[in-house]
């Protein structure tokens, strides 16, 4: 395994620019998830890495070896990159065993194959054909096949998208374990944020043909670079407020503030990220907190998500609140909200509205 460095990667199809100067670095042995909505160019990135397409500009480097650059294009078969396409892409005319052995020399086949199949937990299915396997089993065979050739880098294209919800979590865990055991450097592409956050060491969000942010799942959730990213990863309430030292004054109370980069002066207008689980909701008896009314709520078993319409004096705005357990109150109930810090703030553009107004 080895590290991967991509810099200034450009790719356009006709007039449609898919990747526009993408940079990404992955340390050796890490599992990185590329997260992006459908059509954001995730699959194109994988196909460029695998060598099925040629970039218009930019370089790709695995360890010290340059595999794509001006005038250089290493063919797919010489890249040592294990590729697992959507739905596995097993060869339908070959048995499980022959699929896994496909990339191996005759000498390497004997022990390598059975060892790998043991590792993915399919030792007893060697003689089966792909159509006799479940989706999850196919996925694991495809992974074993990719790992068989001892690749520098493993690429997984939406590996769990075709599985039903029931299978997905167990296959996901298995695949994560297998990849870590083999300590392969892995790049996984997905549009499922839950998958990215729970499985990967690093999550890179692809937006407008570039990596908008690449960070650990925790950092990405707590320190998103801007409010679009905040909304993309999990639910987010973004409101505005005024900074007062290290605190920020909001309709939901005075909260501890944290921010990136240079110190922000007191009195600065800022935008504030408040995650739904940072908001506490009480029945409307008290005087404390921001008054509002429940619009609707969704019960999810482990928690409940409640949408609260804020009273008019603060502008028409809804806040999303996450509460553990049941929602005690019916739609229409009056509630009061308060928030717990610390909260992330970004310096806000100076125009637009007076302080205290909640921002869309």
């Amino acid at each position: 395994m080895n590290s991967l460095q991509i810099s200034e990667l450009h790719k356009r199809f006709g007039t449609h620019s898919v990747l526009a100067g993408l940079d990404l670095e992955m340390p050796a042995g890490s599992l990185t998830a590329i997260l992006g909505p459908s059509g954001s160019g995730k699959t194109t990135l994988l196909r460029l890495l695998a060598g099925f397409e040629t970039p218009d500009r930019g370089t790709i480097r695995i360890g010290e070896q340059l595999i794509d650059a001006e005038g250089t294009h290493v063919n797919p078969e010489h890249r040592k990159i294990g590729y697992v396409p959507q739905e596995g892409g097993l060869f339908p005319h070959l048995t499980v065993e022959a699929n896994v052995a496909f990339g191996l020399s005759r000498a390497a086949r004997r022990q390598g194959v059975s060892e790998l199949l043991e590792m993915v937990g399919l030792g007893e299915l060697t003689r089966r054909y792909p159509h006799q396997l479940s989706g999850g089993q196919q996925q694991r065979v495809a992974l074993a096949r990719a790992l068989a050739v001892k690749p520098e880098l493993v690429l997984l294209d939406e590996p769990f998208a075709s599985l039903d919800a029931h299978q997905r979590s167990s296959v996901r865990e298995d695949v994560g374990r297998i990849l870590r055991e083999s300590s392969a450097t892995t790049l996984l592409v997905t549009h499922d944020q839950d998958e990215a956050l729970s499985l990967a060491d690093l999550v890179a969000v692809l937006r407008n043909g570039k990596i908008a942010q690449c960070a650990t799942p925790q950092e990405l959730y707590t320190w998103p670079l801007d409010d679009d990213l905040a909304r993309f990863i999990g639910d987010a309430n973004v409101i505005v407020g005024v900074l007062d030292g290290t605190l920020v004054d909001t309709p939901l109370g005075k909260l501890a503030a944290q921010w990136r980069g240079d110190p922000l002066p007191s009195g600065s207008r800022v935008r504030i990220l408040i995650r739904p689980e940072q908001i506490d909701m009480t029945a409307a008896d008290g005087e404390e907190g921001l008054a509002g009314q429940i619009v609707r709520s969704g019960y999810h078993g482990h928690d409940a998500v409640v949408h609260v319409q804020i009273d008019e004096e603060h502008g028409e705005q809804r806040l999303t609140v996450r509460t553990a357990g049941e929602v005690p109150l019916a739609p229409g109930s009056k509630v009061r909200l308060s928030a717990r810090g610390p909260v992330l703030v970004w310096s806000a553009p100076s125009t637009n509205g007076h302080p205290g107004l909640l921002e869309q």
Binding site: F52, E77, G82, P85, F91, P92, H93, R145, V149
Partner: protein, 536 residues
């Protein structure tokens, strides 16, 4: 007589299609493009030769030859026969398909085989069987009877496949919405099979326009019989090419009409192709009459031609044993047909790959253009080739084996394309990419992944062309190398001399040789829909 189960290949749904054109934006490799263009050029060559031939005769001559009373007679004969037979074939084909696929008819599996077997019997053998037994089978009524019995399977096959794959849920929904049995049949069942019905009728029509041998035996004058006479008996090239032009125009008209009719609406089923089988309709009291109908159909279409051949052999006794020439003719038939089948399959490969894997109007058009060949009867192709080699190539290749094989390959190219196309769908490019990322070079990928996946389909394409070439008569009569006989030409020679006892063994030999690939084909196309293109 030739076979084409379903020229109608429903375009895959958008979702499925995308996996075949993963590399769609990339331009096709130049090798693939060059080969495809070369194939297309070879395919339209006969049409160009025909135009050159007509041009050589002089425009005014051609026009005066076209606008005469004879043309009107031929047109009337051809059109009325085509309309009547196509309608009859549609009725028989749809009824048989519905009974076998959708009702509790006893012995369905057996009937499903028996009603298709007539495809392996050349039209001229059916014609011979009937005409040799009864003088009533002559002229128009004879032609209607014989041609209907010979070609109705061309409607039956695609319609049965369509009934098999159609979503029974739609019928159930229609019933639940208050539509009665009959109304459901007309509005839903037939609607679902529309593309298949149209496709089948198109093949029947084209087959009728191209048929020669059967009409010659029945003394029914159509364009083909007249063209053949002008060319082979009167050596009147201008007249032959003028009539050929009309015939080709007629075929083109049919082809484009079918394209228009199909353009409206699309048959689809939502969701994955679950092979759910709807409840079969109970025949109830109609059971015995329907069974009697099937017995009658098989007796007329299969029993009479085979029975007549056996009868004439027994009648002749041992007096006319033709062992040596039979083996010799069978050998040449198999040789030419196999060579043509291989050539047509190889020619179809680049065209199919280009059309399936590379989205873009030019590539689709290129594929479409090869279907023009459907409008060229074997007779026209043979005339064009023979005229051209004689006139412009100094007789080079004239009446030689390579030219005959090439003519077969062109004539049956659309059949090969159907098979190759279906099989190329079995090999999505994604699998090749995976193979390459596993360290295999292009050639190794072709050998280890692509060929094994498309192999069965290539074999089917081969069988389809082989079968059609074995039963081909018209082009063979014109292009056969001097001093050589195939089963069809030898049969024809004996038959024309009314030596039925000597002709019959050749007819039976053709049926036997054609039956084997038909069986293989039936198996292949039966399995096709249930086999997913990629493992899911």
């Amino acid at each position: 007589m030739s076979v084409a189960p379903a020229v109608d290949h429903d375009p895959p749904t958008a979702a499925r299609r995308s996996e075949f054109v993963a590399a769609h934006r990339a331009p096709p490799p130049w090798m693939l493009l060059t080969l495809s263009v070369a194939v297309a050029v070879v395919l339209v060559a006969p049409l160009c030769f025909l135009l050159i031939e007509a041009h050589g005769a002089g425009t005014s001559t051609i026009i005066s030859l076209i606008f005469r009373a004879l043309t009107a007679t031929l047109l009337w004969n051809t059109v009325r026969l085509t309309v009547v037979v196509t309608v009859l074939c549609a009725v028989i084909g749809i009824a048989a398909a519905w009974c076998i696929e959708r009702t509790d008819l006893p012995g369905r599996r057996l009937w499903a085989v028996l009603v298709v077997v007539p495809l392996a019997i050349p039209d001229f053998v059916v014609s011979f069987g009937w005409a040799s037994l009864s003088t009533w089978v002559q002229g128009f009524r004879g032609a209607v009877l014989v041609m209907t019995l010979a070609v109705y399977p061309l409607v039956y096959l695609p319609v049965a496949a369509s009934f098999r794959n159609a979503d029974p849920g739609q019928e159930e929904v229609a019933r639940s919405l208050g539509a009665g049995r009959m109304s459901t049949f007309w509005r839903i069942t037939l609607g679902q099979a529309r593309a298949a019905i149209l496709g089948g009728c198109l093949l029947v029509t084209l087959m009728l326009l191209a048929e020669y041998g059967a009409f010659e035996i029945l003394n029914y004058q159509t364009f083909t019989t007249e063209i053949f006479t002008e060319f082979n008996v009167s050596f009147n090239i201008p007249a032959a090419s003028a009539l050929s032009l009309v015939l080709v125009l007629l075929s083109l008209l049919v082809l484009s009409g079918e394209g228009l009719a199909r353009g409206r609406g699309r048959v689809s089923r939502a969701g994955p192709l679950a092979q759910r089988v709807g409840a079969r309709h109970r025949l109830g009291r109609a059971r015995m009459p329907v069974l009697a109908g099937f017995v009658l159909l098989v007796a007329l279409a299969l029993g009479v031609p085979v029975g007549a051949s056996v009868y004439w052999i027994l009648e002749a006794g041992h007096a006319y044993l033709t062992g040596v020439s039979l083996v010799d003719a069978a050998w040449h038939t198999a040789l030419y047909s196999a060579a043509a089948a291989a050539l047509a399959t190889v020619m179809a490969l680049p065209v199919a790959l280009l059309a399936i894997r590379h989205r873009g109007r030019p590539y689709q058009l290129l594929e479409r253009s090869t279907y023009l060949v459907l409008a060229l009867p074997g007779l026209v192709i043979a005339l064009a080739f023979s005229y051209f080699t004689e006139r412009y190539a100094d007789g080079f290749l004239y009446q030689s084996a390579p030219l005959l094989i090439l003519a077969y390959a062109i004539l049956f190219f659309p059949l090969a394309l159907v098979g190759v196309r279906a099989s190329a769908m079995q090999a999505p490019p994604r699998l090749e990419e995976v193979a390459r990322s596993l360290g295999q070079r292009r050639l190794a990928v072709l050998w280890r992944v692509t060929l094994p996946l498309i192999g069965p389909g290539l074999a089917a394409a081969f069988c389809l062309v082989f079968l059609s070439a074995v039963t081909e008569l018209t082009a063979t009569l014109i292009l056969i190398p001097t001093g050589v006989q195939t089963l069809a030409t030898q049969f024809w020679a004996y038959q024309q001399n009314l030596a039925y006892g000597q002709a019959a063994p050749f007819a039976l030999a053709i049926i036997v040789i054609a039956a084997l690939p038909s069986y293989v084909l039936g198996r292949f196309f039966d399995r096709l829909p249930s086999r997913a293109p990629i493992a899911t």
